[in-house]
Amino acid sequence: MANTMYHRCSLLALLCVDSAIAAEMPLNMTRGVTEISQKVYDLHMTIFYICCAIGLVVFGAMFWSILHHRKAKGVQPAQFHESTKVELLWTAIPVVILVLMAIPATRTLIAMEDTSKSEVTVLVTGSQWKWHYKYLEYPVEYYSLLATPAKQIQNKLRKNENYLLEVDRPLVIPTGKKVRFLMTSDDVIHSWWVPAFAVKKDANPGFINEAWTQVDQPGTYRGQCAELCGKDHGFMPIVVVAKTPEDFDSWIRVEGERLAKLKAAEQELLSMQMSMTDAMAMGEKVYQGYCAACHQPTGTGLPGVFPALKGSKMATETGRKSDHIQIVLNGKAGTAMQAFGKQLSLQEIAAVITYERNAWDNNTGDLVQAADIQAAKNGQKE
């Protein structure tokens, strides 16, 4: 009931809002799907109603005054101008209200910050502009990237229902279990936020933060990075899929096996040769997913911010091929260029370097193979 009242008030306040677009926006904070998010919602509504009540009294008195105590009505102004009693009263009453409000807030806060007795732990690492999830108890880790095609962002394609809120690989957690998140970052500060869990925690480079949730409803929950982290801050969503413990167990087993197989296959691939066409096709896909955000889809970069690859010495001179491999593997210190050695497979790195050395009129004809990358990696170890 309270909720409908709130809705009615907000609707009234907005007079009328065109609702032609299919996706309807809720007008209030989500209740979420966890016990904590429900408590947060309750706190939000309590303080909201307290504010409404105070507003009603204060603005009521004011508008009464505006209506009745106007010179146009020929009233004579009173001359009273102080009263210690009244001042004390309207100092004391707010203090009492605030203390009453602080009690449930304190309780909820302490519960939210208690990350003990968790059953699953996920290390969440933010980087420009994607999330990486690593299950500490399982051999599973992967990157989660925005899945909305660039053409939708550029208004060349119709936008999906979950425009900007969809990823290639969501985080999967079991229902009914306390899941602990460890947050950190590879570069700048990000903030991992899923409204349905009432979890928002900054991912600080070089430090680890903790948060937790326990979701009882299987489902898909969406969020976004909440801390300005540079150019594509608006394009690093979070999707969490909650599965029943059984489904979760089978998912994580399959996923672990899949990743292990990939690793094994990678070793086998070392002896295999990719054709130019295959390398270019795979390279373009990797490039658009990992590199284009900075170096731009056409390889032109952003002058003064991100260097161009098109026509650059690094990507065109034969003598600098090994430098090219090194920078992709290890990044460049003091710049936004990350180390992709651990993010991408050997084959993917080989393909993307091949792509960069042959796309946009860079036509070097260089074909880089997974074995070259492995050799470069081995070279470092020695």
């Binding site: 001359q79 600080n204 909440a226």
Partner: protein, 535 residues
């Protein structure tokens, strides 16, 4: 109040004759060399108005891009530069210089002084400002663009991951800081030394009180800002690691230092507004201000508390729960003195004889809308709820309610209230009322829906958004364009009023009280050459 002679001609002593103060040099020299508090006040106010329109144009770019989902007008990189520079310009270029301009014009007239105590420094503190903002604005045209890390310039986004415009940004913030510190010193020295005999502390107008407290806040925190930007500079260019964990630093340290400046800064932008509203409401209620002493104490408590709440901007950074509780309680406590002020204004209006000229309309709108901003502030103080509000449009709504319908509305109210005194002409009441109603409606259309968008989960500082937010963003943008256009009316009123209009009496407003209303309209070049008697 006392009757005083304001005709300074007759009292002109040998000292006055030397200066020939009724005939300041004309043209560029007058403004560039001026040490006169009114000229400098005018320069500050016109500068602030210019910056208000430049910062406003950037807001229009932001709202145009956000009118629809998808990227239409600008790229994300430039969008970030717009939000960053919009914030910096509005805070340091519009609101703060406008308040300093008002202080320059009004404090000497309100305390019965001839001028500010340190006139040459006054000239200097203004004239470095245009250079600071020229540097900041020019950085937008550099290769790689201007600063794009938000006006809060969190490290390491502003250090390791920023462009070379950061150096210009740091330099310009340094200059702004020096200007503010000098302005603050001038205000303090003037108020301490140049009060007319009988103008005791507890007789000072509230505008003077609130500015005195503001000036102390400025002196306390502007050096902290200078330190912060310097650390950003050395981290970026000279190999230090204040904010880099790899070198033993901590990126969260940046936020602690920044907000130790940043939170008092918020009160720097609102305390003078309290002073303005406390001047206007009694005048148009024809009734003395209710609870003068409690207003002084409340302002002082807000100023003291402002040093104890900085980390409420940082609840999600991973502080220990004890620290979160401490900052939550302190922040909630600020609602008490702020509430007292609002109650006092309402009590002042209660059983008065109200009239509703434009300054009063803006003052009433200030009280209501600032209080709404205060309510959302109270909601944000509740740490668990803040985890949901933080860095969403709910916060954007909150701080625009306190800064636009708070600080800016108070500045506009002040302009209407004192323009007749400054120019000697009444402004056009009809145009002023149009300006008020257009601003009031559009500003709410602009900022009120932001509360809902934020609660529904839209993060701030994003150039593109999910489809569910589309309708409301279109509505907000329309409000934004309308609010921007409405301010052209303000410009029109000011230009018209400067150029002519019905002559203003000395008192201007029927219920106005205070020394400035005993001077002629416009007042003499050196306000009070002989101190008035204050009863």
């Amino acid at each position: 109040m006392s009757t005083i002679s304001t005709d300074t001609h007759q009292h002109a002593g040998p000292h006055d004759a030397d200066h020939g103060h009724h005939h300041p040099p004309a043209g560029f020299k007058r403004w560039f060399y001026t040490t006169n508090h009114k000229d400098i006040g005018t320069l500050y106010l016109l500068f602030a108005l210019t910056m208000f329109f430049i910062g406003g144009l950037m807001a229009m770019v932001i709202r145009a891009e956000l009118f629809q989902p998808g990227l239409q007008l600008v790229q994300p990189d430039f969008f970030n530069q717009m939000t960053t520079v919009h914030g910096l310009i509005m805070v340091f270029g519009a609101v703060m210089p406008a308040f300093t301009g008002l202080a320059n014009w009004l404090i000497p007239m309100m305390i019965g002084a001839p001028d500010m105590a340190l006139p040459r420094m006054n000239n200097w503190s203004f004239w470095i400002l245009p250079f600071a903002f020229a540097i900041l604005l020019m950085s937008l045209f550099m290769e790689g663009g201007g600063p794009g890390f938000g006006w809060t310039f969190y490290a390491p986004l502003s250090t390791k991951y920023s462009g070379d415009s950061t150096a210009l940004f740091v330099f310009s913030v340094h200059i702004m800081g020096i200007s503010s510190i000098m302005g603050a010193i001038n205000v303090i020295v003037t108020i301490f030394n140049l009060r007319a005999p009988g103008m005791t502390w507890m007789k000072m107008p509230l505008f003077v009180w609130t500015w005195l407290i503001t000036a102390f806040l400025l002196i306390a925190v502007m050096p902290v800002l200078a330190g912060t930007v310097t650390m950003v500079l050395t981290d970026k260019y000279f190999g230090t690691s204040f904010f880099d964990a790899a070198g033993g630093g901590d990126p969260v340290l940046f936020q602690h230092i920044f907000w130790f400046f940043g939170h008092p800064e918020v009160y720097i932008m609102i305390l003078p507004a309290f002073g303005i509203v406390s001047s206007i409401v009694p005048t148009f209620s024809r009734k003395p201000l209710f609870g003068y002493a409690s207003m002084v104490y409340a302002t002082s408590s807000i100023a003291l508390l402002s040093f104890l709440v900085w980390a409420h901007h940082m609840f999600t950074t991973g502080m220990p729960v004890f620290a979160e509780l401490f900052f939550m309680y302190c922040t909630m406590l600020i609602a008490v003195p702020t509430g007292v002020k609002v109650f006092n204004w309402v009590a002042t209006m209660w059983r008065g004889a109200l009239t509703f000229e434009v300054p009063m309309m803006f003052a009433i709108a200030f009280i209501v809308l600032f209080t709404i901003g205060g309510f959302s502030g109270l909601m944000l103080a509740i740490t668990p709820a803040d985890f949901q509000y933080h860095d969403t449009y709910f916060v954007v709504a909150h701080f625009h309610y306190v800064l636009v319908t708070g600080a800016i509305f108070s500045i506009i109210a002040a302009a209407y209230y004192w323009l007749p005194k400054w120019t000697g002409h009444m402004y056009d009441e009809t145009l002023g009322q149009w300006h008020f109603w257009c601003s009031l409606i559009s500003v709410n259309l602009l900022f009120f829906p932001m509360h809902f968008v934020g609660l529904a989960g839209m993060p701030r500082r994003i150039p593109d958004y999910a489809l569910q937010f589309a309708d409301f963003n279109a509505l907000i943008s329309i409000g934004g364009f309308a609010f921007g256009l409405s301010q052209l009316l303000f410009l029109w009123v000011i230009v018209k009023c400067i150029n002519g209009g019905k002559p203003a009496t000395n008192q201007v407003w029927e219920g106005a009280e205070g020394l400035e209303w005993q001077l002629t309209s416009p007042p003499p070049y050196h306000s009070f050459t002989t101190p008035p008697d204050v009863k």
